[in-house]
Every structure is written in structure tokens, then in C-alpha cells.
């Protein structure tokens, strides 16, 4: 099943990449190159072959972990992705933590106090987070907290003159600066990640709280809740122990999906914040008709999604005895 999905993903991304009316050779040789230069590059890129042959060559290479060479960076695409991915990962992790830590209690409160002020406020917050374009929020955030209040630094992962001081170990600036004991840089990196992570966290919070609320409402209607209350179990234990405990399993899927979406969905946020991760890499590749990078990033994102789904299915089975059969 996974193999078929993966094959489909490859085929579709490959076809889209070849159908778009953009000439990848042109982006390689430039507008003014001679006909011979152009032809030579075309052959070097294998674009003179029939399309099915190109696909199988590509497939063969991908299976060996070779995603081709990027036009934009002149380096293997896989190497590029490994280089830029930690920045996205770092951002997504922090955003997801924010989403979980704030989103689940908010969802629980909303469900318990259904119809109350907290519930309505929570739903408005959730709705806004779900419907406002995140890049727009990003720009507003920059205007307010950077331009006007001067509380936070501007776009980028770190102030420009701190670049290249810390050696990349994990590729994650927060961790690398701790390893290098460069506290000034750590502080700078923290201040830079606050705004984008808060925005993405808000997006994730909106989704998680909404789902938590509906799972909780369903649980609270169940008879065992009534039983527990009748038996005199304290109310906090009924809610946070029994009801939420039974929501945990579907919530894992929700959190996993939200995390997957953050890994891939932060394209616009990364562009607004000049955050050098996978999203920005993908945007730049698209704008430069760098098809190998576009295909490579799409495959990586697709694979992550597949992986996240598989992982949450696996957890499901571990935690819920009913799913094992």
C-alpha cells in the first residue's frame, strides 16, 4: 500500500513537473546562450529522451536516494533538503508544542463549559486561526512587534552578523547554539523564532482545540462519565482523567496531522519571515523553475506525510487494543 502511494506520488509530481510550460534548460543556461550550449545542456539533463524513459530513469535514481542536482544551488537536492530541513523542523516542533500545550486545555474548557463565554471566545479564536491567511498575520505581526513596538527582531533566523559563528551540528539553531555555549546567539535565535512559531502555533492551536472540543463533547455524553460522577469521582478527575484519557488516541492523529501540515504548510510563513527552511527552499525553487528541487521537496514532504500517518496508525494500534484486530 505504501509502495503504491509512493509510486503514485512520484508519478504525479513528475508529470506535473514536465507539463508546466517552463523550459528547465533555459533556467540552466540563461536567456542568451547559443544553440549548441542549449542542446548540450538539454542532453546533459536527459531531456532529449522520451518522457516515459525519463520517468523510469528518475524513478531508478530516486529509489537510490538520488534526487538530482539543483539548478539553484548546484548541489544535490537531497543534500540541500537535509541542510534546510532542520530549520523547518525546529519551527514546527515549537509551534506544535505551543499548539498542544494551549490547544488541548482550551478545547477541554470549551467542551466542559459548553455555551459559556470561554466556549464562544475559544471558538472565535479557533475560527480566526483557521480562516485568516497566515502570511497576512505574519506581516501584521512584523509590523506590530518589530516595526512599531521594537519588541522582537525582524525576519531571518538570526541577526545577520551572527551568521556562520556556530557550527551546524543538528542544524537547529537553538540546539546548536547551546552546544556551542554561545548564549548571546541562543538568545538571538530565541527572539527570532518567537513570532513565526507563535503564528504557526496559533494555527495549530486552532485546529487542535477544535478537535479536542468535539472529542470531549462526545465523551462527556457517554454513560461511563455519568457512572463515574454517580460514584463520586471528583469532577477534575472525570474530565482530565476519564474523558480526556479516552480522547488521547484520536488526538494523537490530530497532533500528528497538524505537525505534518506545519512541516509542509509553512511555505508562506517562511517566505514572509525569510526563514531558511524547506518552505522557502520550495518557493525559491518554484520561482526559478528548478524542477529537480521542486520534485525532490514534494517527494520529501509527501514521504513525511506518509510517515507521520503510518506512525500515528502504529501508535493507535499500540494504545487501543480494539484496533489490533
Amino acid at each position: 500500500m505504501v509502495a503504491i502511494t509512493f509510486f503514485g506520488l512520484l508519478l504525479i509530481t513528475f508529470l506535473i513537473g514536465r507539463i508546466v510550460p517552463i523550459d528547465p534548460v533555459l533556467s540552466m543556461v540563461g536567456d542568451k546562450a547559443s544553440a549548441e550550449t542549449y542542446e548540450a545542456a538539454k542532453i546533459a539533463m536527459g531531456l532529449h529522451l522520451p518522457i516515459w524513459q525519463q520517468f523510469f530513469i528518475y524513478l531508478g535514481k530516486v529509489l537510490q536516494g538520488d534526487l538530482g542536482v539543483s539548478i539553484l544551488t548546484s548541489r544535490p537536492v537531497l543534500e540541500d533538503i537535509i541542510r534546510v530541513f532542520p530549520a523547518t523542523f525546529e519551527l514546527a516542533i515549537i509551534a506544535t508544542i505551543l499548539g498542544v500545550v494551549l490547544g488541548i486545555p482550551l478545547g477541554v474548557f470549551s467542551a466542559v463549559h459548553r455555551g459559556s463565554f470561554i466556549d464562544h471566545a475559544g471558538r472565535v479564536v479557533g475560527l480566526l486561526g483557521y480562516s485568516l491567511p497566515i502570511f497576512w498575520l505574519g506581516l501584521i505581526g512584523l509590523m506590530v512587534f518589530y516595526a512599531h513596538l521594537d519588541w522582537l527582531p525582524g525576519p531571518g533566523r538570526i541577526d545577520v552578523f551572527y551568521e556562520d559563528i556556530v557550527d551546524p551540528v543538528t542544524g537547529m539553531m537553538l540546539i546548536d547554539s547551546i552546544i556551542a555555549r554561545e548564549w548571546e546567539i541562543f538568545r538571538n535565535a530565541v527572539s527570532h523564532i518567537i513570532l513565526p512559531a507563535a503564528l504557526l502555533g496559533y494555527f495549530s492551536l486552532a485546529y487542535i482545540s477544535r478537535m479536542t472540543r468535539s472529542f470531549m463533547l462526545e465523551q462527556l455524553r457517554q454513560e461511563y462519565i455519568l457512572t463515574a460522577r454517580v460514584k463520586g469521582v471528583p469532577e477534575w478527575k472525570v474530565i482530565w482523567g476519564h474523558a480526556l484519557g479516552n480522547c488521547a488516541i484520536p488526538l494523537i492523529t490530530v497532533v500528528a496531522l497538524s505537525f505534518g501540515t506545519l512541516l509542509e504548510g509553512s511555505v508562506l510563513t517562511e517566505t514572509v519571515f525569510a526563514w531558511p527552511g524547506l518552505g522557502l527552499y520550495l518557493t525559491n525553487s518554484l520561482l526559478n523553475a528548478d524542477m529537480n528541487s521542486v520534485l525532490g521537496s514534494t517527494i520529501v514532504v509527501g514521504t513525511i506525510f506518509l510517515g507521520v500517518n503510518l506512525f500515528s496508525d502504529f501508535l493507535y494500534k499500540v494504545m487501543d487494543p480494539r484496533a489490533r484486530n
Binding site: 540552466m28 542568451k32 527582531p153 525569510a274
Partner: protein
């Protein structure tokens, strides 16, 4: 208590300002869209930002004065002689110079660098190979006479400035032979390595390139010429003009390179920032495909030239960024024609269309890339055309998309920008006024070819002009050529580019030259 609170507030504000202010004193930090850089090898660089990088990190045999283009002076070459027959150029290399690696610069490096461009045959190779160099003959045509003398033999007695200007382009950069060859793989002249590496001798040296992210240059302390003032130049890729403006206003960058008109207007009132501008070589034009039945008609071509509100556009949304210019040589080039015979004249256009039997107008498409200011221009042109009954359908696309179509001659009208490759007038004459073979299989595909404009006669005139050695006479020839071209060609040339940048008030000496590869960081100071 109240006083304590105020004090606390002041401390917080102070800390915040110290924490987020501002660029270090010996750094130049620049916001610039540099995602067009795909290679750092001067034999391959053919993009705007890449060319600027090479101009600041590599030396060339010769240079020209950015304020007086006709003043050509020595770089790596101290002096040069041209033989009587105009075919042989002898360059005397300055002694005592070294590359950033510490290797001395000698005739071997010069010969290697030029031969390398020919042998690799990448995008910009034609700038040299148009003088008849081939991988087969380059051992004889580009050779060392002794350790500090190089002789180059070209195939025809062109105007000397033509060849010299070509040597001032990126393709003429001098590369450290020893260093490049130490990274050679399968006889690639070190190309694979140099695409991301550095082997030059310029005032700045490459520290780090993160594609589409940042470019860091450090001062070359061993530079043979006048050393750069600032220790480091950091260029940060920021594609959003609004973000660049924000960063500039906050002092997080010193120079913003890609601003839109409204950003510039907004910055004009900011006392911390100054706006600097300089006319560039870029030309905006319409290309009218001669494969189209309407556009073939000479009266229609003339009519369209009268259906553009040149002045209106230049005075409104293009203000400060473009000047009206209607000939293929940009102002500042030898023989540039500054006459602007066309202006919006709907009546005249209608008359011409009537003569062509098209008094009711016609419908036509225009391929338009979707980056400003091109879409705004397209909309203005659409409205002007409509006044004479011509229905213009705009087909938007991104740069690579529209270009692919244009290169295949599948457009009706294409609205585009052309930047000259070197400072000699032949660069634009070659593309706008020459088309040796109009067949679909042609090898040489200049802009005249892309618009299917068959001009054997004009090609001959352009060929004669590049051979003329008398500079004054040569300029006359180009003026005549442009006057004719202006009237009959399928090109509606409209504007010449002006580059506008905004810099913090404490920045001085950033040089904006006349071409995209003559912007220099070396003399920049921070007060």
C-alpha cells in the same frame, strides 16, 4: 514607586534598542533579491546578481571608468598594444600581484582563464567566441609570450573598443589557474568546484554562499590595489520589497536594493535614509512577431508606436525608475540615439490603420511576465491600444514561462526587458538589428530572429559598423542604423531603466555603475 516604574521602562527600552540595533560598524549589510545566482563560476555567470558578485571578487584584464565609459584603463593588464592589422592584441601583465590564495598572478592565469571560457562554452562564452576562438584554435590564438605577456589574435579587425569592452565583462574575469586545477575533475577546468567555490583576486573574497539565502564576502587583505574599506559585506536574500524597506528603516540592513515605487516614495520623508539612482543599460520594449498577419504590415507597426503613452507612463507609475528612450542603444553607449520621435497620437495611428485596411482594429495577444512594473505597463498599453480599436489580450505568466514561449517565436506581442552584455554598442546592435538566418532552425537566435524579422540588408550595415575603427565614424553609423530601426523595426522601444537604491544616511561611497555588473562595494564607508 512611579519613578522606579519610569526608570524600569527606560531600562527596558534601552536594552531593546541595544539588543536589536543595528548593523556592526565594519560590516555592510544589504537586502537584495539574489535568488537568480545559480553559479559562482565566472565562465558561467550570466545573471544580474551573479555578475555583480564577480565584479567585486574577481579582477579583469582591463576595466572602464563607471562615470566615463569610454575611458578604458588597465586592471590585471598594465598596458596593451594592438597590431597594425587590428588582429593581434598584446597585454602586459602587472607584476607583483597575487590571488587571494597567495599564488602569484602571471600570464599563465590569464591564458587559462580566457581559454577556459571558450572550452567550457557556457552561457556567456559567446562574448569571447564571437571573436573566432574555438577549443581547437585557442592554443594558437590565446597564448603566453613570456611570464608577464599574453597575446590574443582575433578573427577580424573589429573596432578595438569592441574587443576591449568584451574583456571587461564577467567572462573576462581572471582565475587562479593553480587553485582551479587542483580541484579539476574529468578535465572540467575546475568548473564543478568553482560553481560554488572561489579562485579570484578581487577586493573582496567569497566567505560563504547559501543559495537564495545569503552571500558573505570578506575583505581581501592581500589585494594588490586599493583595499576595501569595510571588513565584510553581507548580502541577505529578501525578495519582498516591503520587507526590505522595513529592515532598512529599522537599521537592520544598510542598503535596500529592490524597492517598489511606493516604498521609495515612503522613504523620501525618512531623514535616516537617502535615495540614490543611476540610469542603467536595461531597455523595455515590445517585440512584434512578424509571423503574425497584422503585425507584418508596416503601417500597423508604425501605428502601434503612436499608440503608447510614453510620457504618461514615465511621469506616473514609472516615475524615477525609467526614462523615455526609443532607440536600441541605451543612453551612455557610444552612438546612442536620444531622439524620441514617437508620442501618443491616436488620430495618426487611426489614419495608419486605415491605410492598412484595418480601420475597425483587430484582436491580438501580449505575453506579459507578472513582475512589476511590466503588468502595469501592459495595462496602460492595453488602454491606449483600445483607443484605436485594437483589442489587446494580456497573457500573464512568470518569467521563465513567457520567455520559453518568446524563444520559440510563439507569441504575438512580447513585452520585455533587454540588458546589454558588455559596454560596446555592438551588444545591442547584434540582437536588435542583426538576423543572419531567419529560418526556424537558425543557430543564432537574436531578438530580431525571435520576432521573425528578416533583415539581410540591415545585418550587413551592423556588421560593417563593428569593423569601423574610426570611433567618430562608427558612432555615426550606429546613429543612422538606429534612426532607420526606430521607424521600420518590429520593436517598440519605450524606456531605459534607472536603478534606484535606498541607503542609510551613514553609508557613503557605494558605487552604482552604468551596467548591472558595475556596482562596486570597495569604496563604501560607514560613518
Amino acid at each position: 514607586m512611579k519613578r522606579l516604574l519610569i526608570l524600569a521602562c527606560l531600562v527596558v527600552i534601552g536594552v531593546a534598542q541595544v539588543a536589536y540595533a543595528k548593523t556592526p560598524k565594519d560590516y555592510l549589510v544589504m537586502g537584495f533579491a539574489i535568488d537568480d545566482i545559480i553559479t559562482l563560476d565566472p565562465a558561467e555567470i550570466f545573471e544580474f546578481s551573479g555578475a555583480e558578485y564577480a565584479a567585486n571578487t574577481y579582477d579583469r584584464l582591463i576595466n572602464y571608468d563607471v562615470d566615463n565609459v569610454s575611458d578604458i584603463y588597465g586592471g590585471i593588464a598594465e598596458s596593451w598594444d594592438i597590431s597594425e592589422d587590428g588582429l593581434s592584441y598584446t597585454f602586459n601583465i602587472r607584476k607583483g600581484m597575487t590571488f587571494a590564495s597567495g599564488n602569484p598572478i602571471s600570464a599563465d592565469d590569464v591564458v587559462f582563464s580566457l581559454q577556459r571560457v571558450v572550452a567550457l562554452n557556457k552561457g556567456p562564452a559567446f562574448i569571447l567566441t564571437q571573436f573566432g576562438f574555438t577549443p581547437e584554435n585557442m592554443a594558437d590564438t590565446i597564448k603566453k609570450l613570456d611570464d608577464y605577456t599574453v597575446q590574443v589574435v582575433i578573427d577580424q579587425p573589429y573596432a578595438p573598443t569592441f574587443f576591449l569592452y568584451c574583456l571587461t565583462s564577467t567572462a573576462g574575469s581572471i582565475i587562479d589557474k593553480k587553485l582551479a586545477l587542483s580541484h579539476e575533475k574529468d578535465g572540467d577546468y575546475g568548473h564543478a568546484w568553482l560553481r560554488t567555490g572561489y579562485a579570484g583576486s578581487g577586493p573582496y573574497i567569497l566567505k560563504k554562499w547559501k543559495p537564495a539565502e545569503s552571500l558573505t564576502l570578506d575583505r581581501n587583505d592581500g589585494y594588490w590595489g586599493e583595499k576595501a574599506n569595510l571588513k565584510r559585506v553581507m548580502i541577505r536574500h529578501i525578495s519582498e520589497p516591503a520587507t526590505q524597506r522595513l529592515l532598512l528603516e529599522k537599521g537592520d540592513i544598510d542598503i535596500a536594493r529592490n524597492l517598489e515605487r511606493n516604498d521609495i516614495e515612503g522613504l523620501e520623508t525618512n531623514p535616516d535614509v537617502k535615495i540614490v539612482s543611476r540610469p542603467k543599460g536595461g531597455i523595455y520594449y515590445l517585440g512584434l512577431n512578424q509571423k503574425n498577419e497584422y503585425l507584418q504590415i508596416p503601417e500597423v507597426r508604425q501605428a502601434l508606436k503612436y499608440l503608447i503613452d510614453y510620457k504618461g507612463m514615465a511621469d506616473t507609475f514609472l516615475k524615477g525608475r525609467m526614462t523615455v528612450h526609443q532607440a536600441f542603444l541605451p543612453n551612455g553607449f557610444l552612438g546612442a540615439l536620444t531622439e524620441t520621435p514617437f508620442s501618443l497620437d491616436v488620430e495618426k495611428a487611426k489614419e495608419l490603420l486605415k491605410k492598412a485596411g484595418l480601420e475597425n482594429g483587430f484582436t491580438i495577444t501580449m505575453d506579459t511576465r507578472n513582475t512589476e512594473p511590466v503588468p502595469s505597463m501592459a495595462l496602460a498599453i492595453q488602454a491606449n491600444f483600445a483607443q484605436a480599436g485594437i483589442k489587446l489580450e494580456i497573457i500573464p505568466g512568470d518569467g521563465k514561462q513567457t520567455l520559453t514561449k518568446y524563444r520559440a517565436r510563439n507569441h504575438d506581442i512580447y513585452i520585455g526587458k533587454w540588458g546589454p552584455d558588455y559596454m560596446d554598442p555592438h551588444t545591442n546592435a547584434d540582437t536588435f538589428a542583426r538576423n543572419p538566418d531567419n529560418s526556424d532552425e537558425a543557430n543564432f537566435k537574436p531578438l530580431a530572429w525571435r520576432n521573425a524579422w528578416d533583415i539581410p540588408e540591415m545585418t550587413k550595415v551592423a556588421d560593417a559598423a563593428v569593423l569601423e575603427k574610426d570611433t567618430k565614424k562608427r558612432a555615426e553609423m550606429y546613429l543612422d542604423l538606429q534612426r532607420e530601426h526606430q521607424q521600420v523595426s518590429p520593436f517598440v522601444i519605450m524606456f531605459q531603466d534607472i536603478e534606484v537604491i535606498a541607503e542609510r544616511n551613514n553609508i557613503d561611497g557605494f558605487i552604482l555603475g552604468p551596467s548591472f555588473d558595475s556596482n562596486f562595494y570597495q569604496h563604501t564607508v560607514k560613518k
